[in-house]
């Protein structure tokens, strides 16, 4: 039979010689190896106290951005929802009323904007699709929860807070 790779090593099926049959040399060698491992650096990170640094290209939880004047950038064009391969994004558009110019940047805005974090695969296509620079992926991730409903993030969870304003959901 032709070998599939050049890394295949034939199994040594020779009977054990006297030295190997005593088992003890092999056991001592093994014990020396495990003893060395006792003094090695531990691979585990004590998670809640100590956090692993993310890579610079890490794609985490989405936020909805505001412009320089604190107005929402999103115009509910729906391109992010179209781009989303997991179909995690839903939105409802609404028209900006007179007097709301300080809240919304364009004439149209998202009245409802939801991302289902259980569906989201954090691919970042929404960020790429957005023509208004409204949605960004941050370097945090969705905190765990016992309820499925908690993973449907609404606008109040996603929208970046205004300076001096507290978020409703501190983790979002």
């Amino acid at each position: 039979m032709q070998a599939l790779t050049d890394r295949a090593v034939p199994v040594d099926r020779r009977p054990l010689n006297f030295w190997e049959k005593m088992y003890l040399p092999g056991i001592f060698r093994g014990m020396a190896i495990t003893l060395k491992h006792i003094f090695r650096k531990k691979a585990t990170i004590n998670y809640p106290e100590e956090k692993r640094a993310f890579s610079p290209v890490f794609r985490g939880l989405q936020i909805l951005n505001r412009d320089e004047e604190g107005r929402e950038r999103c115009t509910a064009c729906g391109l992010c929802a179209v781009a989303c391969p997991a179909e995690a994004i839903t939105m409802e558009a609404a028209e900006r009323k007179p007097g709301e110019e300080h809240l919304y940047r364009e004439e149209k805005y998202a009245a409802k904007y939801e991302i289902n974090m259980l569906r989201c695969i954090f691919c970042g296509f929404c960020e790429e699709a957005c023509p208004k620079d409204a949605i960004y992926l941050t370097e945090t991730f969705a905190p765990s929860s016992f309820e499925r409903e908690h993973f449907i993030y609404g606008k109040e969870d996603l929208l970046i807070p205004l300076p001096g304003e507290e978020t409703k959901n501190p983790q979002a």
């Binding site: 088992y23 014990m31 003893l35 491992h37 090695r40 531990k42």
Partner: protein, 352 residues
């Protein structure tokens, strides 16, 4: 005939028994923690560190968890024997501690309190007898489960312990030729100090091969890796305790750790001088202090052997069944016999 036992002696022994039992259970409890910790550090992990500082409350959490689990007695099992199995395993595990001399005598206000529950003149035989009873706990539990995997595990445990007890006994005969006594107290006293007449006093340095055989057999007797074929997960689900749950399972697992502690203590006593430690006569301390330091020394030695048990467990894989039998019958027993003959010859040669 009325036995002339003073109330004082009765109280003294009762307190001593309680302390020995409590310490064996405590050590066994913390062995489970130590086992997980040792496994973790050997595998570059951290191990339990959430329950209390450094996770030292972990054994309590484990115990509480086992207590609150549902107690299942399979409907097709033999109910009485099913309960008897783990009880017997636990009972025999705790009985062995009685003959081990945990320390020299304490002098308390005119009374001499020997730190040994019972100085029987056949201490080693007692340990042997009780340890071989331990396998009945496994066998009875395994048979009563009415489960093929349990039964296979029980059969394995029984045949393994029978095979290795022979080699263990033979290795000890060589030791007994040198000590001339079966009493553990005598054996420890003969190993007084560390260095006398130009040679070590500890039996390990007279009987290294005997110790090696005894150590290997102790692993087998305790059903520890590499000889834990009785509970080999990948072949027998969980071996003899497959059908057990809740604290009955806990007793089986716990008995293993108590056994481990006791056999470590026996090894320290027989081969590593028990409560003797180097320079014990040159410290200039009072006899009571030497006794207390001796107890500490014994526990340090025991602790080392417990660590050795764990170290080996997390290093080498399980033996195959035929390898186990070959090692027992074709290597350890001949080696033990040879050791016996050589020791006998040497003893005759040096005495004449």
């Amino acid at each position: 005939m009325i036995l002339q036992i003073g109330t004082y002696l009765l109280v003294e022994k009762f307190i001593l028994i309680s302390i020995v039992l409590a310490i064996s259970l405590l050590v066994a409890m913390y062995s489970t923690y130590a086992e997980r910790k040792v496994a973790a550090v050997i595998q570059d992990r951290r191990g339990p560190n959430r329950a209390g500082p450094f996770g030292i409350l972990q054994p309590l959490a484990d115990g509480a968890k086992l207590f609150f689990k549902e107690e299942i007695i399979p409907s097709h099992s033999t109910r009485f024997l099913f309960i008897l199995g783990p009880s017997l395993a636990m009972l025999t595990a705790c009985m062995t501690g009685a003959v081990i001399p945990w320390g020299d005598s304490l002098h308390l206000g005119g009374h001499v309190v020997p730190l040994q529950v019972a100085d029987v003149n056949i201490g080693i035989l007692f340990i042997f007898g009780v340890v071989s009873l331990g396998v009945y706990g496994i066998m009875i539990g395994a048979w009563a489960s009415n489960n093929k995997f349990s039964l296979l595990g029980g059969i394995r445990a029984a045949s393994q312990i029978i095979s290795y007890e022979l080699a263990m006994g033979l290795s000890l005969i060589a030791l007994l030729m040198l000590t001339g006594s079966l009493s553990l107290n005598d054996i420890v006293r003969q190993q007084h100090g560390f260095w006398k007449n130009g040679y070590f006093t500890w039996n390990f340095f007279r009987q290294p091969i005997g110790f090696l055989i005894f150590l290997v057999c102790a692993f087998a007797e305790c059903n520890r890796t590499p000889f834990d074929l009785a509970e080999c997960e990948n072949e027998l689900v969980n071996g003899y305790h497959t059908e057990y749950s809740s604290m009955k399972l806990g007793f089986y697992l716990f008995a293993e750790y108590v056994n481990m502690f006791i056999s470590s203590a026996v090894m320290a006593t027989l081969f590593f001088g028990g409560f003797n430690f180097p320079f014990m006569d040159h410290l200039g301390l009072s006899a009571n202090w030497i006794t207390i330091l001796g107890v500490v020394a014994l526990f340090v030695k025991t602790g080392f052997f417990i660590f050795l048990f764990m170290w080996v467990r997390w290093t080498i894989p399980r033996f195959r069944y035929d390898q186990l039998m070959k090692l027992g019958w074709k290597m350890l027993i001949p080696l033990a016999l040879l050791n016996m003959v050589v020791t006998g010859g040497a003893a005759l040669f040096f005495n004449h």
